[in-house]
Amino acid sequence: MAPPAVQTVVELLLGGVSLGGLYGMMAFAFSLALATTRILNVAHGGFLVLGAALAMLFFRFLHLHFLLGTLLLLAIFLLVGLLFEGAFVRPLMGRPPHAVLVGSILVTFGFALALEAFLGFYWADLVDPQPSFTIPFPAPTLQVFGLTLSGTRLTILAIAMLTAGLFHLLLTRTKMGKAARAMSEDHEGALIIGINPRRLSIRIYLVGVVVTAFSGILYSTTAPLEPYSGLPLTMIALTIIVIGGVGSLPGALLGGVLVGTAEVLTTFLAGGAWAPVVYLLVFFLVLVVRPEGLFGVREA
């Protein structure tokens, strides 16, 4: 047995890093869409909530088989990505810059609110009067050097690392990934070499919504998500890319781990109510202290 203090510290670190990895992967999905389409999707956090809600519905209420349910979820998330991109992102892309900004904020903010409201309302009506999405995942704990490690958190960490690896391969090895990098580095340059911005944006949203919704499911294995968690999660994603830079994968992971660890430590030391205060303060502090370090963030 390790001394209780060591056990606590290790638990906190594992909690922080696994939450951070999860934040990192959902933030990078947000960041990639922002860098390539230049549309800030305020409804991003809503996709985590949607993922958790659907997974809970499928697995806890409808008792679907794990594989069947997962495939069904995948299909639904792909469809959501396709529809969201087609209905809200694509119509805005051709407009002049200021109109893109106004339009995208109105549309995605409106969608986020509508999603929050409808999800909460109909869930309360049809499923459970207290809408709260959580999928307990009873992974066995692991004993290492006398330390007890949460199997759930280790699983989350492993999945996050795997996703980061896949993202890395996507960006460096595939045509789509290289096109996305080109698009985020020089928009017009990318158009000039014949990249089709619409096809790229659809693909980015397909990948992005799937990754985001599944990270919502992962999140809900350790803590519940509520219908109104969506907008704060978008703020978390934004904080992370303000720290790490738009379109940067290492930046998103680093920012994710930073914010995740800060959240876990704050919750331990001061209670969960202070966790959002901490990441929001970090957000504003980074803006004041090193505005020049925010590569790309000043443009929109």
């Binding site: 990098r181 017009e188 014949g194």
Partner: protein, 234 residues
């Protein structure tokens, strides 16, 4: 090969091109020269589809282009080396070149194309893994040309390739352009480096405040009084 007829372009209230008509025939090198703000870049952007004309038509290899977005035009064989190069600073030289063949489809075609670009600009071969943003200005211009050539275009358009480069480097670049022309590539060259461009060009057009004011064979224009006074400061 390229037929531009009666093209007018507006940016809001400002009209940048007025009824511009010109043609580029297969195998020709055509130059467009003119002062700052004449609308040279606008012409190239309109041909590629980055800017929509208010009037006029553009035909390429006998078919109208006007309805197609830029990526379809690139796929049809038009490549642009843009003003200011617009390379992707964090991307390696090799990746940049491969992206140049984005519309080409088959991966198998990439290797020989990259080799051909390296033959033309050997310095790029030695910088394969280097980030494009760390190249010198001349090397970046070569990379931009190489990137355009990777699409294996039928028409290569260049927008002021001499911009901001030392005379020696410009000479080198122009030698390479001559080589490309010698291989039968059709080229539309926009320049403010009038002497060099006219020397190389089969034919040339002079663009001033959005209108074509003169045209002729390259050597004819070189000898033209007006050109000599206005552009060559002789």
């Amino acid at each position: 090969m390229l037929d531009v007829r009666g093209v007018s372009v507006r940016y809001g209230d400002l009209q940048a091109l007025w009824d511009v008509t010109f043609a580029v025939r297969a195998g020709e090198l055509v130059a467009i020269i003119g002062p700052n703000g004449a609308g040279k870049t606008t012409i190239l952007k309109t041909i590629l589809g980055l800017v929509r004309p208010a009037a006029g038509s553009i035909d390429f290899r006998g078919a109208p282009l006007t309805r197609y977005p830029p990526y379809d035009r690139v796929a049809r064989g038009i490549a642009l080396v843009p003003e200011g190069r617009r390379i992707f600073p964090n991307m390696s030289v090799r990746d940049t070149l491969e992206l140049g063949a984005y519309t080409a489809g088959r991966r198998a075609d990439l290797r020989p194309r990259v080799e051909r670009v390296y033959d033309l600009f050997p310095v790029l071969a030695s910088r394969q893994r280097q980030a494009a943003g760390t190249l010198s200005g001349g090397e970046q211009q070569m990379l931009a040309i190489g990137r355009a050539l990777m699409a294996d275009p039928a028409l290569l358009m260049l927008d002021e390739p001499s911009l901001g480069l030392a005379p020696v480097v410009i000479d080198h670049l122009y030698d390479r352009l001559g080589e490309l022309k010698g291989r039968g590539l059709t080229i539309l060259l926009v320049e403010q480096y009038v002497a060099g461009a006219l020397e190389l060009a089969d034919r040339a057009y002079v663009l001033e405040t959005g209108r074509i004011v003169r045209e002729g064979a390259g050597h004819e224009l070189l000898a033209d009084d007006y050109i000599q006074k206005t552009y060559l400061a002789l």
